[in-house]
């Protein structure tokens, strides 16, 4: 492949990101601007931005790669990623917006009236964010290595560099525009090559492998693995820090719901395309699965099937989309982590926010450079399991159950974090081949365990239910207008 193509595509995306980021700079002046774009972002913008932020390396590269490897079993990933947003809509979107908090730790502190809960939640949020950035950087390393032939470390370093510049310069306001732009870029980058590929295929029906044919000797997933994966994806989405912070940019609870509805539409349309790449990959490029390069399928397929200039241009488009995915998810995570870190450590000033942004981007860069890339969709799936076992119980019970106490919340987060964290460590020590499925997909037992501990400890400490509860529950669940006249 022509190495200039990859470099040019990355440079163009970075430049566009920076330009839109600086354009946003002119309108972000106050601390409120920096954190949540002053809550005045329109639903369509906001929905595109949420889509842009959510569709990470795992969605752009990982899903197609996993479909190539394991067929229909992998189709549950995009279904779970999308249905996770349905759960978010049903149980979290409007109440969380109405809570008026900036970050998840803000929410748990307000709900449980406890500094200790805030500190534990902050710790978990930062951990989740770092764990989630690492696969993005692995994806960047893969993309740079495959498309330009440069050393792999160039990719992560470039991504972190661009993210730091944009976030430090513009905060959340410009991030919203950048993310919205990147959703449409990602969609175009997958859709245009597919149209060309189908056009080329329409010409001659040659004898090819059926999509159902398995290119590797992988055993199909059992019902336990699928159920556990769905638990992780359905309940993990509603605890992701970069997803939650987006809801604060809606003006009120109803528009938070409308935004989520649009997001669901955007995600549904998007995921048709990685699925199509996976199917085409099974038919025309099964050798990528055998050589362990399945995550590069989306990047390589257009160049393989359409040669020459047209192939190069389509490849450039796909590479641009891939970098948009790494950049948008990473910057979204960095913004939300910086919000948490700066409020807890640096006192919530704009300068503290910038400092915190640097910290939250550079630590995962270190982790990524020391670790190996697993299958991208799989490693992101584990982060979802971790989130579902830690943040999800506190969030769901905090919104819907009056009996939650600070002791219960801390005990639940600790239980889920330790159980799921140990399973992840054990899995990486044993290696993919030796890990039993209950350790490889831990969510089916760690999530119920975390819920059970949270509820039991809350019951045992029911005297600790905060005095502010009634007022807060009212605020979470009632429409905004009555409240405007209340205080």
């Amino acid at each position: 492949m022509n190495p200039v193509v990859g470099v040019a595509a990355f440079a163009a995306v970075s430049l566009a990101t920076a330009v839109i980021g600086f354009y946003g700079l002119r309108i972000s002046r106050t601390t409120g601007d920096f954190y949540v774009a002053s809550r005045t972002v329109k639903p369509w913008w906001n929905a595109s931005a949420i889509g842009g932020e959510y569709l990470s390396a795992a969605s752009f590269l990982g899903v197609a790669g996993l479909i190539l490897l394991s067929g229909t079993d992998a189709l549950w990933y995009p279904v779970g990623y999308t249905a996770g947003y349905l759960m978010l809509l049903l149980f979290v979107a409007a109440p969380l917006r109405r809570s008026g908090a900036y970050t998840i730790p803000d929410f748990t502190e307000a709900r449980l009236d406890s500094r200790a809960v805030r500190r534990v939640t902050s710790l978990v949020v930062v951990l989740v964010g770092w764990l989630y950035i690492v696969p993005q950087l692995h994806g960047a390393a893969l993309a740079i290595r495959i498309t330009t032939g440069l050393p792999a470390w160039v990719g992560p370093v470039a991504v972190v560099g661009v993210v730091c510049i944009t976030v430090v310069a513009g905060g959340m306001r410009s991030i919203t525009f950048v993310q919205a732009f990147q959703y449409w870029l990602k969609l175009t980058a997958l859709a245009v090559p597919i149209v060309f590929l189908l056009f080329v295929l329409g010409g001659g029906e040659s004898a090819v492998a059926a999509p159902a044919a398995n290119p590797t000797a992988l055993a199909p997933a059992g019902p336990y693995q699928i159920i556990s994966l769905l638990v992780a994806l359905l309940f993990g989405t509603l605890g992701l820090p970069h997803v939650l912070v987006r809801f604060y940019t809606n003006p009120d609870g109803q528009s938070a719901r409308r935004t989520t509805l649009i997001v669901l539409g955007l995600l549904s349309v998007f995921y048709l395309f990685p699925t199509a790449y996976g199917i085409l990959g099974r038919m025309f490029a099964p050798d990528l699965a055998q050589s362990g390069q399945s995550d590069a399928l989306v990047l390589l397929l257009p160049g393989r099937m359409i040669g020459g200039m047209a192939g190069d241009l389509l490849t450039a488009l796909v590479v641009a989309g891939a970098f948009a995915a790494f950049l948008s998810t990473t910057s979204g995570l960095v913004v939300s982590l910086a919000g948490v870190i700066s409020q807890d450590v640096f006192g919530g000033s704009v300068r503290g926010f910038r400092l915190a942004a640097l910290v939250s981007a550079i630590v995962p860069l270190g982790i990524a450079s020391m670790t190996e890339s697993l299958a991208l969709a799989g490693s992101v799936g584990l982060v979802f399991a971790f989130t579902a076992s830690t943040i999800c119980p506190v969030l769901l019970l905090g919104i819907w159950w009056r009996g939650l106490t600070d002791a219960g919340a801390i005990a639940g987060m600790a239980t889920g974090g330790v159980l799921c964290g140990s399973a992840m460590v054990a899995g990486s020590v044993l290696g993919a081949a030796q890990t039993p499925s209950w350790l490889a997909q831990p969510a089916a037992w760690t999530v119920p365990a975390a819920f059970a501990v949270t509820i039991l400890v809350s019951r045992a400490t029911r005297g600790r239910v905060p005095r502010t509860l009634t007022r807060l529950m009212t605020r979470l669940h009632t429409p905004e207008r009555p409240l405007a006249t209340e205080r």
């Binding site: 049903l90 409007a94 509805l261 549904s268 529950m473």
Partner: protein
């Protein structure tokens, strides 16, 4: 706590009920609050009224939670029905749509409209629940 469903919007003097300014000690609602007008002239009316207000709030929370659970469980049942259908209906797993195996089309594309429909139903009904709450609580 006894479970009370508020159904008739006119039982409480609409304009006088304000939601949510309850003091922590007056949090427990009781059905006596529904007798409404009794306390209208009393000096402690704020507490009485917030009891009624809290009753509406609890009723709203319950109906939103019930709605979320119904839509969520309904969606999960449909999701569960997909693999069951493939396993139980003979020949379905081997049939193709536009050259693609049926299960690929079902999982790869067919589920998304179900998700969208569930979400749309939820958003509509949740907004309706809130409108009813506004009527009850007298906030326009």
């Amino acid at each position: 706590m006894t479970r009370v469903r508020v159904t008739a919007p006119r039982t409480v003097n609409a304009g006088s009920v304000t939601s949510g300014n309850a003091t922590p000690n007056s949090a427990t609602p009781n059905s006596a609050a529904l007798t409404g007008g009794r306390s209208a002239a009393a000096p402690h009316e704020a507490a009485e009224e917030s009891d009624a207000g809290q009753l509406f709030v609890r009723s709203l929370i319950r109906s939103q939670l019930r709605l979320g659970l119904v839509v969520g469980l309904g969606f999960l049942l449909i999701l569960l029905a997909f693999p069951l259908m493939l396993g139980l209906v003979p020949g379905l797993a081997d049939s193709t749509i536009a050259g693609l195996p049926f299960d690929w089309v079902l999982l790869g594309a067919g589920i998304y409209p179900v998700i969208g429909l569930s979400a749309w139903l939820y958003v509509r009904t949740a907004a309706r629940n809130e409108a009813r709450y506004r009527d009850l609580a007298g906030d326009k």
